[in-house]
Symmetry: C2
Subunit: 209 residues, 2 copies
DNA sequence: AACCGGATGTTGGCAGTGCCAACATTGACG
DNA sequence: CGTCAATGTTGGCACTGCCAACATCCGGTT
């Protein structure tokens, strides 16, 4: 995957990917504000302005990098979900939802630059929804968990519509507040407590007793 | 509030406030990325670099503007809370919490620039908490509502600690997702539905039945 | 095989920004 | 009345986004 600095010829050959790689690295350490076209071009071993052959402008570039960040979140979610191995279907479904939520907050705290970037871009008309990478779309992943909960009887069908709104809001809000809100720099044990409380509320409010 | 362009003398006399006013206006229309020192200085009728006598750097300036944005949010909250006039104390307390939450989302949707700016800054060590403007701090306002709910018996005392985490996360997460997340451009009626669901979950999970 | 056109990358330039250094003005306080 | 520190200005450098003109090369056509 390392494109390195092997510019053998005039044309790069894989510049778009190289730029996205560089952008992902920039986002990781500096957040969305650090995703610069010139810096990414330099890092890709190419002169400035070359990037304009692949991205309309900086906003477009950041949006593309943001999509990658969102994918990273989805990948961690999948990893954590697949780590759940309970045998009972109902228990497993609940635990998978919990794993998804914990993965969300874990990602935000471990990779704040990626997390902030993922939610910083404003695609004019997001073609991300409905694209081919739905397999790792966090939104789709959450929906699948909720569907499963209905299937095993843990979530009342009449509560299913719009259940994403509540679940997603809870974990996303907590993550945001821990990073950039009044809960910033909350001590570690208190973070765990906050996690417990949010999940407990969602459990009691959403699922069957 | 308009400080105008009355630079009668060499010294402005009230530059810091004028810069903050300009910054607030910039944030309103363009979000945190539009809060620039040179632009604000120009708008204040002063030359660039004058701002450095009042703010260490851009980050410091944006953080100060962000505090103003947070205050705007607090002011709207107070306005909406004061609009609740139910006579029964228990009912009133619940309605006030609801009004607070609705004000939060209302603010985010009506003033996205301010909302994004309020949560974009990273004060090295936030002196905002504990400062003199606690009267309008959204965090403090929420705490007061929860305390009241305990006082009137609608919130079990053992559930009070950490209740902010859940309530705040719910409304903040929903607001964020509606602005910059997958719920962006959700049609109006669906927004109301999402609001209902989130509040319903919080009600069922937090308060007494 | 020669050729040509479009895709891709480069150089140069302009406007805007953050921030540093040196200088100017003035109000406040002795 | 004088001095000085606070406040504001001018000039400059480095960096960025983006536009225009030019260079190179890959791929398909004849």
């Amino acid at each position: 995957m390392q494109s390195g600095t092997d510019q053998r010829s005039y044309h790069h050959g894989n510049l778009r990917t190289a730029l996205l790689d560089a952008g992902l690295e920039l986002a990781r350490t500096g957040g969305p504000a650090a995703v610069l076209l010139r810096t990414a071009s330099r890092q890709a071993g190419v002169s400035h302005n070359a990037a304009y052959r692949h991205f309309a402008n900086q906003e477009d570039f950041v949006a593309a990098v943001a999509e990658q960040c969102m994918t990273q979140l989805g990948l961690l979610m999948i990893e954590r979900i697949d780590g759940v191995t309970a045998s009972d279907p109902a228990v497993r479904a609940r635990m998978k939802l919990g794993a998804l939520g914990r993965a969300y907050v874990e990602f935000a705290l471990a990779e704040p630059g990626w997390f902030r970037t993922a939610f910083s871009a404003v695609r004019p008309h997001s073609s991300a929804v409905g694209a081919g990478s739905d397999r790792v779309s966090p939104y789709v992943l959450l929906g699948a968990r909720l569907d499963e909960l209905v299937a095993v009887g843990e979530l009342a069908p009449e509560r299913r519509p719009g259940a994403e709104y509540a679940a997603w809001s809870g974990v996303h809000g907590l993550s945001s507040l821990l990073l950039d809100g009044p809960l910033r720099e909350l001590p570690e044990p208190e973070i765990d407590k906050a996690l417990q409380i949010v999940f407990n509320i969602l459990d009691r409010g959403l699922l069957r007793a």
